[in-house]
């Protein structure tokens, strides 16, 4: 680990403690099939990093490495090293529960629990003991729903099941649920894919706000969105990290021709 860390500054030119997440030689296999190939990446603290790339290129797979969600997929194997604040998250000393509390995630397919909207949001704070009583829980639920831009639509039906919401509402519910725990790093797998422009704008604002305190990694297919919200962008292709760097640079003068090809393709 120390060797790898030592190399880092040299390679990235970013001082160590500005790097929240850094991956070295990350490969992921689903059974026989390799989905990620030797990814080396550094993700700056308290900034927004976008992951872009064609469908099936491994963005979600990479995202799931960061909070070790890949552990839950049978037959999935991750090699290489991934550091969060300088700690190897795959080391046995790391507690995946704490890791996942620190690294929140919004999934690509909205997956609300078959519980009430309220309980969906209150779930995280409750299990982590962040709330002591009903009052605190109410507050945190309200605040999180508000941030995710859902409060207005659901405030008079908080006790109805989360599964009865529209697709976009479900997605915002999942965002609220992740925010309620107050993670340090937030992984968002296409958080706006089911959202209309207004809701999208709301989420982008939120991202802007959160950036002050959180490290955010967002998978998006909208290059405009990537350009709007992120400071850094990483481009994946066929399981490889082709190029990563400042968003501006990636969009204006990509080094790799695959990147070039992708971003100059028709817009999404």
């Amino acid at each position: 680990m120390s060797q790898a860390l030592a190399d880092r500054t040299a390679r990235t030119g970013v001082p160590d403690d500005d790097i929240a997440v850094s991956g070295r030689d990350i490969s992921v296999f689903y059974g026989e099939k390799q989905a990620l190939f030797d990814v080396d990446i550094d993700i700056p603290r308290q900034q927004v990093t976008s992951l872009i790339g064609p469908s099936g290129c491994g963005k979600s797979t990479f995202l799931r490495c960061i909070n070790r969600m890949n552990d839950t997929i049978p037959g999935c194997r991750v090699t290489g090293e991934l550091f969060l604040d300088g700690e190897d998250i795959n080391s046995p000393r790391i507690d995946v529960v704490q890791l996942r509390a620190r690294v929140g995630m919004v999934f690509q397919k909205p997956n609300p629990f078959p519980k009430s909207i309220y309980d969906n949001v209150a779930y995280g704070p409750r299990i982590h003991g962040l709330v002591k009583n009903r009052g605190e829980a109410d507050e945190i639920v309200e605040r999180s729903l508000e941030k995710a831009g859902l409060l207005k639509e659901v405030k008079d039906r908080l006790q109805e099941p989360g599964t009865g919401l529209s697709g976009g509402q479900q997605q915002r519910l999942c965002i609220a649920r992740a925010l309620a725990v107050g993670p340090e790093v937030l992984l968002m797998d296409e958080p706006c894919s089911a959202l209309d422009p207004i809701a999208t704008a709301r989420i982008e604002e939120l991202i802007e706000e959160l950036k002050a305190n959180y490290t955010i990694i967002i998978v998006t297919h909208s290059m405009q969105q990537a350009a709007r919200v992120s400071q850094k962008t990483a481009f994946f292709h066929l399981g490889q990290l082709v190029e990563a760097g400042l968003t501006e640079r990636i969009f204006t003068s990509p080094e790799d021709e695959r990147t070039q090809g992708y971003i100059t393709g028709r817009f999404g």
């Binding site: 909070n67 529960v97 996942r100 629990f113 519980k115 779930y123 299990i127 099941p161 599964t163 649920r177």
Partner: protein
């Protein structure tokens, strides 16, 4: 043609009808290029149904009545030798006729009259069989021709076939109702006779059960008491103990198998546990009576508790062991059916496995788990042998699991297989017990249904 051959012929005819229907529809489709929601195999099924079902129904009906009809024809004009036979011997005469006609032996000389009757019976049977054959096959062929004519691109064969399937489904669902009606009817009359002898209030609210009534008229005996409360209390107590064993063990086993164990472990352990459900209850009975009961008694002796060896505890624990797989396997299946995305959602928030299971997975699987538990409770309430052997017949009204109690089923079995008399309150009590138990469990189930309705979490 014997019945089995006829059945096989019908099946073969249905099969060929299926292929023909399919061929014809395929051909029509190729020519006409039509498009309906029915596939060629639907047309095939349509044809097969027409061929098989009416014919099978008629055959079954014929089979049902042929015997009676022929019997009554044969008996209608008896030769003079049998003219004054008493009605209750007719039955026996029939037996003899059947025996002789079938070439079997009879325990007496076969006289002419009998032989004549037997021949007549034989002839009539042959005619009946032939007529049945002609009718059934004719019907099958007729239906085939009729249905084949109707096969056309326009025919909505799938809808028809599905309608028939739906009828089958509905008929199947009503079988449970018929079963219930059957059970109630087979209990009701005896129960009413019982309540003629024993007032219903005494039965329902009496605290003393002691069916020590005389069985013989020359035997006076004590009058006996028929207060069923101790039996229901005993049933409740033993069921409760059984559930205290089975639900935690079963549920935790299911949870461990689905959420913690490797697939290999699960694949081995689950069927192993299922063996527990199939060990004959007699074996559990011996186990409870001789091993567990004695073990608890000795344990009690060691710590200064007075535990009888027929304790409710022993019977309940062993019964609990028996129904573990009802809880574990059924819960395992429904837990396994909870979509992975829900687990992901919870893990992604930093929940531990235990939290995910308790707060997300179990609630989502609740209706199925309640179903499993209800099934286990049902099994416990209805179980007999274990309790007969391990808990015995002593009708104590107590909530103390260390004492002996008895259950409704034990008494039912005792009363039914013991020495019985057709109209003594003692024998009739079994029917009343069964009926009341039936009603009590009905109440329990209504409550369970309402519970599930209330707490159901529908995922996806």
């Amino acid at each position: 043609m014997p019945v089995s051959t006829l059945a096989i012929v019908l099946v073969l005819m249905a099969l060929s009808a299926f292929y023909m229907g399919r061929r014809r529809a395929t051909a029509a489709q190729a020519n006409g290029g039509y498009r309906t929601s029915s596939r060629p195999h639907h047309h095939g099924l349509y044809l097969a149904i027409w061929v098989a079902i009416p014919a099978a129904l008629v055959a079954a009906f014929w089979l049902l009545i042929q015997g009676y009809v022929i019997d009554s024809i044969v008996l209608a004009d008896l030769p003079p030798a049998y003219a004054d036979i008493s009605p209750d011997r007719l039955n026996l005469l029939l037996q003899e006729i059947h025996s002789v006609a079938g070439g079997g032996i009879v325990g007496r000389e076969v006289d002419d009259g009998l032989r004549l009757l037997a021949e007549r019976y034989h002839d009539l049977s042959m005619i009946g069989d032939a007529a049945r054959l002609v009718l059934v096959l004719g019907l099958a062929i007729g239906a085939f021709v009729f249905a084949l004519r109707r096969i056309s691109p326009r025919l909505q064969a799938r809808e028809r076939v599905e309608k028939v399937i739906m009828i089958f489904l509905i008929v199947a669902s009503t079988i449970s109702i018929l079963t219930t009606v059957g059970i109630v009817l087979s209990l009701l009359f005896e129960t009413m006779r019982f309540f003629d002898k024993v007032p219903i209030t005494e039965f329902l609210f009496g605290l003393n059960w002691s069916p020590q009534t005389a069985l013989r008229s020359d035997q006076v005996g004590s009058s006996g008491a028929f207060g069923a409360v101790p039996l229901f209390a005993g049933t409740l107590l033993i069921t409760l103990i059984a559930m205290l064993v089975a639900v935690p063990i079963g549920l935790m086993s299911a949870v461990y198998m689905t959420e913690f164990a490797s697939p290999r472990f699960r694949a081995t352990v689950k069927p192993l546990l299922e063996i527990l459900a199939g060990v004959p209850t007699v074996v559990y009975g011996f186990f409870a009576a001789l091993t567990v009961g004695v073990f608890f008694r000795d344990l009690g002796d060691a710590i200064g508790l007075d535990i009888v060896s027929e304790s409710a505890l022993a019977a309940g624990v062993v019964m609990g062991v028996m129904i573990i797989p009802f809880v574990s396997s059924l819960s395992d299946d429904v837990i396994n059916a909870v979509p992975q995305s829900l687990r992901d959602g919870s893990y992604g928030l930093g929940a531990t496995r235990a939290e995910t299971i308790r707060l997300v997975i179990l609630p989502a699987a609740l209706p199925g788990i309640v179903g499993a538990v209800m099934l286990a409770i049902s099994r416990a309430i209805g179980e007999t042998m274990i309790v007969v052997m391990a808990a015995g017949f002593a009708a104590n009204l107590t909530a103390n699991p260390l004492e002996a109690v008895t259950t409704v089923t034990v008494q039912i079995v005792g009363l039914l297989v013991g020495d019985q008399e057709f109209d003594s309150a003692k024998t009739l009590a079994a029917f009343a017990l069964a009926l009341v138990l039936f009603l009590v469990t009905l109440g329990l189930n209504v409550m369970a249904l309402m519970f599930v309705r209330k707490y159901r979490e529908k995922y996806d």
